[in-house]
């Protein structure tokens, strides 16, 4: 298959790409384009954003105009520039934290399913205990426990998301592993005396990749909400960071008089989350898997 793929001429390959794209639903394709735009904004935003996100000086709560596209906020900062700068913040935080949770949770889950016995029991009961605590309560507990020194740092936010998501991902990975370990190739690998790490990496991970990919998509789709919620409550990013949740919180007093200052970050967040979910749905459909959403 691989050799024939190299031999085909350029037009057929392009047709192959088109056929691959056609397998995704229209909504997934549109959402993917939107996500690409977000990525582009995050990467290049600072190069073309009209103002610094921290520059004050204009009239507070000024409405939308050609100089301030989305108006100004409570301190007279340009909302458009802050939303643009915030994209980088939100994307960086949610993607790194979800990726980390996927690596940690996935590895623990697969290994736990493979090893079985009391190790598996212990880990899963511990994870279930963590999962049983409501999301935000757990996050707030963790932030409170970390103390004021770390408050508002990116590291703390990433670790909090890790704590919240890793157990959920681990449970999913374990379910997959429990099924996979009964396969003959795993039995043969065991009889060969392969280590747990080797079996997890060589035999389980490639076969669990589809499920884990979908799981990553679902989690990544919720991470911006979690991070922004923390920001809104004042436990996430600290002022004057242009984090969207924090912006909504700061400007919410003017929701009637200058609605753009709240709607712009909220809209940016909503579009991001919806796009992430649509793309995940599309990928899941192509992989032939169902998506279970448990935030």
């Amino acid at each position: 298959m691989a050799t024939t793929a190299l031999a085909v001429s350029a037009p057929t390959r392009r047709a192959g790409v088109r056929r691959f794209l056609r397998r995704f639903t229209l909504s997934a394709r549109v959402a993917a384009v939107v996500l690409l735009l977000y990525g582009l904004i995050a990467l290049t935003g600072p190069l073309w954003a009209p103002y610094s996100p921290f520059a004050t000086g204009s009239v507070p709560f000024g409405g939308g105009s050609w100089t301030h596209l989305f108006g100004t906020d409570i301190l007279g900062r340009d909302v458009f520039s802050r939303v643009v700068y915030g994209t980088r913040n939100v994307l960086y935080l949610s993607l790194t934290s979800t990726l980390l949770a996927l690596l940690v949770g996935g590895a623990i889950g697969l290994a736990s399913g493979l090893v079985g016995g009391w190790v598996d029991e212990l880990l899963m009961r511990a994870f279930e205990t963590i999962i049983s605590i409501p999301l935000l309560v757990l996050a707030l507990l963790a932030i409170a426990a970390a103390g004021p020194k770390l408050a508002g740092s990116s590291l703390l936010l990433i670790l909090v998301v890790l704590l919240v998501y890793a157990p959920r991902i681990a449970r999913m990975a374990r379910t997959v592993a429990v099924d996979l370990v009964t396969r003959d190739y795993v039995t043969v690998a065991r009889a060969r005396g392969e280590s747990v790490a080797s079996i997890v990496w060589r035999e389980l991970t490639p076969n669990a990749a589809g499920v884990l990919l979908v799981e990553f998509g679902v989690r990544a789709g919720y991470a911006p909400i979690l991070i922004s919620s923390l920001g809104f409550l004042g436990f996430g990013a600290q002022p004057p960071s242009p984090e969207w949740g924090l912006m909504i919180s700061e400007n919410r007093v003017a929701i009637v008089t200058a609605p753009l200052s709240v709607l712009a970050p909220a809209g940016a967040l909503a579009v991001l989350v919806i796009s992430l979910n649509l793309v995940t749905d599309g990928v899941a459909r192509v992989l032939g898997r169902s998506v279970t959403r448990t935030p």
Binding site: M1, A2, T3, R19, R183, D184, Y185, T187, V188, A189, R190, A191, R192, G193, E194, R202, E203, P206, N207, A209
Partner: protein, 702 residues
């Protein structure tokens, strides 16, 4: 049969299939699956459709009922059932046809029955849908009648049971009863005994034979097992790559097959009577759907093919009365084959090296009961296998045979270090081997290798062949880069695969090729002992015979010993030096293949052997099998585990006292209360075709 024959004479054709051509949509184009198949089926006639997997036999048979897989189309041809074209019937008309006039017995009875509905209710439902039998009470009565007709015990109670309360064989009986509920004219059976044990299979076949006499329905029996069709059908259609290549009465087909493919297919079937087949006739190569020539589709694999064979499409032409063959050289083949036939005679097994044991198993017991590890367990754990004692010598094949649930695989897994024995001793080359893989030395792990049953699951679908075969090289010998690549190529050559396979993924390989890769992976560790757990059971006969040949060659080349696990007695005979027969976790007979397959038999061995449907000769079922309840309780209550099913049971002594091991000479031992000369006499009385022939030559004195 008389009634059926009379009906057949009155109206010759119940089903007429005329030029049926079916395509499947796959990989963005139409692929031909059934190609212009033409046959007819008289009333009360039984036709067997045989061929290797993917030859279109099931598709053809299901088309008779108007079933069409989604994404398939009937490109040409017609299927006339009692004069009407099934393909043109409306949905409503089809519903009237199916179940009422033509019914289906599918392969897996477990999925054919509704799990939440009682047996009786399911039977009544079938009748109610088709308005058969006037009132509910009448249908109930008829359902009970059907249950007793398929020889299920105690109809009243069976009707009240749920499917999961029945064994696989009993479930299949219920499915057959359902198929017969509305007195159909045609029953299509799609591999109905494939998942069942030999003894259960023999019972179902016996049942079908008797039902045909009683009911007189026509049957289309789809199977890959030539032995099964030989015992049940009047006529056989052989299919290859969508073509019907030969259509002939059973006796004629087996005595004088005319098409080269049929000849090869029959030659490939291992039989108990003649285990070492003439390999010159064996089919070579594989069916490659993407490389079919425009002419005869079998030409690429045919020993008699000429240039013209590749060009001219072949059609079924009569060669004798009721015998048609699709081969343009049919008249020359007998003459051509006669020349080549003698070139390579039967190749018997090379005798094993006599010497010290490689693997010694003494009084082994294994349990899955987890509580066994806790000293606080109140009752002793139930052992899955008990008192297992045998040895495997270097360069020898020792086989364990028995029905499913007899503990064959459990023993292999324990030897392979995947299960911890409850009691007993395992020694390898005289040294005690540690219980499980974790505590075994690397050398030991390398020297004992495992090859498992299912070719679909034995290879990681996300790894290329080179990674699969290369891993043991890396792990055990630290080979990397070029050296590793060279070794992989050599291993693939060893298992007769081209080097190009190294870059492929398992889903690009056929079942036989996958099993070769699995063998190459085991071989990569340079083992001394290979544990082969049912490695042939999922493969087609022609592929099976290739792998058997490969195993024998590898044994010669690499000095391997095999512990071979199988339920197929014919295959075991073909490649084993010694055989152990296992019943419900206990060995009941051990000896060389010749000794075990000839009298005196253990009663269970006798039952197994007489249950195998064979091509040659009429299979005569001993009454033992007919009365066999077919439900083996998983835990023996009696001292002799076989006492419940034993046709030769002596009396209470079997239930109370464990039978003694009896020496039959030459290392042949069996475990029974009956003395050897009595077993000998009984075996001869039952005139079991296969064994009796050889008994004449064997020394009857114990």
């Amino acid at each position: 049969m008389n009634a059926a024959a009379a009906r057949a004479a009155a109206d010759p054709a119940l089903v007429e299939v005329d030029g049926l051509t079916i395509d499947f949509w796959s990989n963005e184009r139409w692929a031909n699956v059934v190609n212009s198949v033409t046959f007819s089926l008289g009333r009360g006639e039984a036709l067997g459709l045989v061929g290797e997997s993917g030859c279109g036999k099931t598709t053809t048979a299901l088309a008779l009922l108007g079933f069409q897989r989604p994404g398939s189309r009937i490109r040409a041809g017609a299927i006339r059932f009692a004069g009407r074209d099934v393909a043109r019937l409306s949905r409503r008309e089809l519903q009237k046809l199916r179940g009422r006039r033509a019914s289906l017995v599918p392969q897996n009875p477990a999925t054919a029955l509704s799990p939440g509905m009682r047996i009786g209710a399911q039977l009544i439902e079938t009748m109610a849908v088709h308005r058969v039998g006037g009132s509910h009470r009448e249908r109930e009565r008829r359902a009970l009648g059907l249950i007793s007709q398929v020889r299920l015990p105690d109809p009243q109670r069976t009707a009240a049971k749920y499917p999961h309360q029945l064994s696989g064989g009993q479930q299949q009986r219920v499915v057959i009863a359902m198929a017969l509920a509305c007195d159909p004219e045609l029953v299509v059976l799609d591999e109905p005994t494939t998942g069942l044990d030999v003894t259960t299979q023999a019972q179902i076949l016996d049942l079908l034979r008797r039902l045909r006499d009683e009911v007189g329905m026509a049957m289309v029996y789809v199977t890959h097992n030539l032995g099964v069709v030989a015992s049940i059908c009047d006529r056989i259609g052989v299919m290859y790559a969508g073509d019907l290549v030969e259509d002939a009465p059973v006796a004629e087909l087996f005595q004088a097959p005319r098409h080269p493919y049929t000849r090869g297919l029959i030659a490939a079937v291992p039989t108990i009577a003649a285990p070492h087949r003439n390999r010159a006739v064996t089919l070579r190569g594989l069916l490659r759907r993407d490389q079919l020539p425009p002419g005869c589709r079998f030409a690429p694999r045919c020993d008699f093919a000429e240039a013209a064979c590749f060009e001219e499409p072949q059609t079924l032409l009569p060669v004798a009365e009721r015998h048609a063959v699709a081969c343009r050289r049919v008249d020359e083949i007998d003459r051509l084959a006669a020349g080549g036939d003698t070139a390579d005679g039967a190749a018997p097994l090379r005798p094993a090296v006599a010497g010290d044991g490689l693997l010694d198993v003494i009084d082994l017991a294994v349990t899955y009961d987890r509580r066994a590890r806790l000293s606080l367990a109140r009752r002793p754990p139930t052992a899955i296998v008990r008192d297992i004692t045998f040895d495997v010598r270097p360069r020898e094949t020792f086989s364990l045979v028995g029905e499913s649930g007899s503990g064959k695989s459990t023993i292999a897994r324990t030897v392979g270090g995947l299960l911890r024995p409850l009691a007993g001793q395992l020694t390898f080359e005289g040294r005690d081997i540690a219980a499980t893989v974790d505590s075994r030395s690397k050398k030991l792990r390398r020297e004992i290798q495992l090859v498992l049953q299912n070719p679909d699951a034995s290879l990681n679908p996300r790894q290329r062949v080179q990674e699969i075969v290369g891993r043991p090289l890396e792990l055990f010998f630290g080979l990397r880069g070029k050296a590793r690549r060279a070794e992989i190529e050599k291993l693939l050559e060893d298992v007769r695969l081209e080097g190009a396979f190294a870059g492929r993924y398992p889903d690009e390989l056929s079942g036989g090729e996958r099993q070769r890769v699995a063998i190459a992976r085991a071989l990569a560790a340079r083992p001394k002992l290979m544990l082969c757990d049912e490695i042939l059971s999922a493969l087609d006969v022609s592929v099976q015979s290739d792998i058997v040949e490969l195993l024998l060659a590898l044994q010669d080349e690499h000095g391997l010993a095999y512990l071979f696990i199988s339920h197929d007695l014919a295959v075991v005979r073909a490649l084993s030096h010694r055989v152990g027969v296992l019943y419900l976790g206990e060995l009941c007979e051990v000896g060389t293949a010749e000794q075990v397959y000839a009298p005196p038999y253990h009663p269970y061995t006798h039952m197994l052997l007489s249950a195998v449907p064979e091509i040659e000769g009429e299979t005569v079922l001993s009454p033992a099998i007919r009365t066999d309840p077919g439900v083996a309780s998983s835990r023996p209550q009696s001292a002799c585990p076989f006492a419940d099913r034993c046709p030769w049971k002596v009396g209470p002594v079997c239930d109370e006292i464990a039978p003694p091991w009896r020496e039959a000479g030459g290392g042949h031992v069996l475990r029974c209360h009956l003395p050897l000369d009595e077993l000998m006499r009984r075996a001869e009385d039952s005139a079991l075709g296969v064994g009796a022939v050889e008994a004449v030559g064997a020394d009857p004195s114990p």
